[in-house]
Amino acid sequence: MSSFRKNALLSLGLLGFASFLCAQTSPDYGEIHGNVGIDAQYYLDDPAINTQPVPDIFRANSFLNLVYTRGNFRAGLRYEAYMPKPLLGFPVAFEGHGIPFRYAGYTLGRLDITAGNFYEQFGNGLILRSYEERALGFDNALDGVRLKYQPVDGLRLIGFIARQRFYWQFSPGNIKGFDAELTLREFLPKVDWKKWNLIVGGSFVSRYQSGQEIPNPDNPANLLEIPLNVGGFSGRMNLGYGGFQLNAEYAYKINDPNALNKFIYKPGTAAYVSAAYSTKGLGISLQAKRVENFDFRSDRNAQGNDLLLNFIPMLNKQHTYALPASIYPYAVQANSELGWQADVNFTTPKWLNKKYATTVNLNFSMVSALDTTPTGDRYGYTSSAFDFGKRYYMDANIEVQQPLGKKTKLSLMYMYLWQNQRLVQGQGTTEDNLIAAHIAVVDATWKVAKKHTLRFEVQHLATPALQNPLNSLVNGSWAMGLVEYNFNPLFFASVMNQWSYGNPDEKKQIHYPTAMVGVTLKTTRIAIGYGRQREGIICIGGVCRQVPASNGLTFSLMSSF
């Protein structure tokens, strides 16, 4: 049987199973809900964009989530299949199929118990964030036992002991965690809090991993004294008054010599603060962070996106338009960052534009490395608290949305981007690879008739003619156009082309056309596309993965029941 037929049969089997379970729903026996997703691609060779050969031709990433609930009891599982291999760009270690996520739990009054897999986040995630991001091929689910307990109103306690998912295996490290959060408004209900709201919390997370023999570079006759238990703790607060919010968290991690910090013993610190004010027609937020030696994983030898325990929030706008989002995205540098962001949203008042208000978003962010001085010993370096080191990234952008009538809406965006590609993406070897780009986007939506809309998008990315080095397919200027038709909510079709017309190497001046059609039937969405995918980097929340160039037919299905 061909690999294509095997995958097709498997996909049909998944759907049939889900439908059967749905049909078995009965109030007497609890309820089953779930969803199914299939992303598949039929790969074609395309030497012009240097595609990798895919001998198996057809690949699919699929999953089925099932959640059963009855009263206070719940159980669930997720079946995943990456066959014959994961789609290009996803970690090859996902190859195979099975049930990597399963759990059961129940709630008994103020106590909640989960055994098996679970996701958890303490505060902003500085010392713990376990989550799944399917588009990145990222899943650091915990597997163990978790207790949640609320002894009194307003006080919530969480404790767990677990290991982390590592593709189809487990982390070598065991993780213990404890979190307490106090919401004073609920804890002291008799106090007249008026517009005030205060939440305070604290967390501990610890990794136990057996030792290993690592020679001490400063004294090769001896080994390093490796800490088997590495703990981190954090304190946080969230203060609110009316439309004002202040969120702050500070985290500290004891000595954690690991492969990414070159086995230094310097403690790690992370500080994050966010202040926001919002009122009708206006929203302002300011955020800042300082991160030092704070890559925290459940394996001291893990690298890349493997076995991450914590999450450093990105302080850059998460762009959604294709060129700003994917040509030069920012990847968070968990071992050295000092950055800030300002974001202002406002809507023009009625007296200025009575009929159709204009919405404006102004955003600026800048992230640099810490300014450090090597100590020459096992503690690595010292750093000044607020001095900027080498700059990683800067983004200044403005986005304006203006309805032009009842049937048309126009969005305009301009962005200035600056990036040290060597430091952020590891591209280039010895010299900093500095990128500067001007990006403009025009996005127009026209409601042709009731339920029928057309959307047009034109984007342009201009970079200086000379960059160092010009060795990548993404270098040089780009243009992009998109036309999309929607018949809400049943049908959509789109045609898009990205063109690297400004690459100084004429062979790399390539068109990347794609076309897609899709239908939505109740809770099921099916889309089929065809075209070229350019090589690049996909980042979500500052966590990134490489995407190789590909060409072919894509199929995606998402259904819930």
């Binding site: 009054g109 213990k176 404890f178 023999e213 570079p217 080994l223 390093l224 800490p227 004891i254 190789p548």
Partner: protein, 290 residues
Amino acid sequence: MKYAAFLVLGGLFLILPSCDIIEDPDGPPAPNVPFCTDTPSFQPRVNPEIKLLLEDYTGHRCGNCPLAASKLHELQVAHPGQVVGLAVHAQAAGYFTAPKTGTAFTHDFRNEVSNTLDAFFQVAATGLPKGVVNRKRVNGAYDLPISTWGQIVQQELNASQMADLQVKTLWDSSTSSLCAFVFIEHLSGTLPDSLMLSVYLAENSFVNWQADYSVPGEEIEFYEHNHVLRASLGPIWGKAVQLNGTSAVLSFSKSFSGATWVMSNCSVVAVLQNGLSREVIQAEEVAAIP
């Protein structure tokens, strides 16, 4: 319910995390056998040569695998001293590497080192024989058919040499302990931030059964297995390398008491690699017993 609350609170505190704060990172003496304490002196080579690692994923019940062994030998003859080979017998190859009782193929070539390497590079399950050159992807794949080895080897040997390795070994027959000192010298270019050094033990001239489709009967009783990956002297993915200026010396030692292989036929293979991508920067091979 109140008692339950106390019990739960107690349980939560029981799992409170612990921390090992290290006052002095300088730990215990490296567990070298006594004769492995004095680091020998190394002098940078006058004319260092780039040396690559070719890992031959093979199996004793794989009838086409002797072709790959021949190809590896041919490349070693064509590029004297520059092609370091390892024969990897991984469990994921299934039938090809599994011993089978009731037949002549009872020797188990598989081991943890081979399985761990294969778990990362995912080669054995793609069918044997396959090779991996310098642990680099070629057109997106690690596993290379024999027909491509020559071209890829030539390509790798044409690259500029970033580092050189020298290995000196000591063998203590009374304790069956092997010691290896590896001298790493940075020559040119920028080495990756994460640099790891692995040291493996490979056995040569091991005579045992081998399937071979090119001979009558398709089996050879006295087949000479070479470069058989047997063990790792340190962590499989290596020890972290911290250069002191442009060089460093790392020591590895292990007791092979009880091991059945013939140490005098073994060689020590050192592999300097990028700790992130696993790509090999330089390899070196010397006899286990000098």
